[in-house]
Subunit: 228 residues, 2 copies
């Protein structure tokens, strides 16, 4: 069971799971994100990986508000690297990965899957608390207490986060080795109406920096030049 | 932040929170349950308690299937007390309380609430793993690792489960003392098309037994006589 956002990290995570010979089920969440283009990207990635089934579940976190990704709060642009890595920005969505993992857990239990893959990263990231190893360990523990399959011992739930200690450049290199087509992915928090990436939000900046450090060309288009 | 299902337990929990002088925010989840009448009951209960705001969030757990409450699986009827208390029945919904608490956590963080109230019970219940104290403790730990407010220390999240060690009769007596109108609540898993309770599913049987043991009259109607 892999959580596919449509971004670079989850596509790479799914490719790693496939390489490790897991049969893939994919789950994406339409949570009211302003960058809903990523759900189309998730469909393209799921298809390219030949998943057994890809489910898109809707849950309107925008009803709660409180984040630049779901409410009428501006997405920060043109922040320097040290700004991005300092503190938790307004693009944080309250309890997002807890909600996503809960949904993945429910779906996994129904299909009899014990291995949940999540593309979180705690190196080149935005400081979100629910991307850290201690959060993942706590969720894994919870999963085995929360479910019939966990309690009865028919399934041992494990949360796999193969990217958690990698730099963005390392992730991209690994994905390239595994044949991931990053042209299918969508990363930007603030795309234009045609879905073209801004190149200026934290997500775009981390991605572009990763490609630059990996010495690779990013196949997607941006509205602004790199380093602008 | 109180999770209101529309049932007897969550109504009592909300009344306890109000009695303890908490200002109430309420969250209900439309998860594709066949007994959707409970959401109307949740609205009635929220109104009667004078909550600040009641949000109903939709997330279609029926897409995953795997439960008699969301898929085309028959709800068990006329089970004896010892059958109800043995094992985990087909009405179990995979990861339901994990999903519900995750959503409540997100909403709570946005409104700045640290106290989450949940009407779970581990005495007169259906053996669901996500109603047990060890699950609740694990979620509370997770909540403080998963969130900006928890990590930065601005909010300490606590999961309150005032009913967890009470019998159904004790819950009803406490609710009556606090003035809960149980005529507003809905408990049945398998109501008729007008929302009238079957009286025969596990949820109805636990409720009727509770009222009988408390020596109180249940104000709602049933399609079958008690003990039938």
């Amino acid at each position: 069971m892999v959580l596919l956002s449509g971004g670079l990290d989850s596509a790479t995570t799914a490719a790693i799971a496939k390489h490790d010979r897991f049969e893939l089920h994919a789950l994406s969440v339409d949570y009211g994100q302003r960058h809903r283009f990523e759900l189309e990207a998730a469909r393209r990635v799921a298809e390219s990986l030949g998943v057994v089934r890809h489910v898109v579940v809707s849950v309107d976190l925008a009803q709660f508000g409180g984040s630049a990704l779901t409410a009428d709060i501006a997405v920060p642009l043109d922040r320097a690297d040290d700004e991005i890595s300092r503190g938790i920005p307004v693009t944080y969505v309250p309890a997002r990965n807890t909600v996503f993992l809960s949904l993945a857990l429910g779906y996994a239990e129904v299909v009899g899957a014990g291995d949940l893959f999540l593309g979180v990263n705690a190196i080149d990231y935005s400081g979100y608390p629910d991307c850290r190893p201690e959060f993942i360990a706590a969720f894994e523990r919870l999963a085995n207490l929360a479910t019939k399959a966990g309690v009865e011992g028919t399934t041992r739930f494990r949360i796999h986060t193969p990217l958690i200690r990698m730099t963005k450049a390392e992730i991209i290199r690994r994905g390239m080795e595994l044949g991931v087509d990053y042209g299918l992915t969508h990363t930007c928090y603030s795309p234009n109406s045609a879905g073209v990436a801004c190149g200026r939000c934290d997500a775009c900046r981390l991605r572009r920096k990763g490609f630059a450090e990996a010495g690779m060309k990013d196949p997607i288009k941006y509205l602004t030049k790199s380093g602008a």
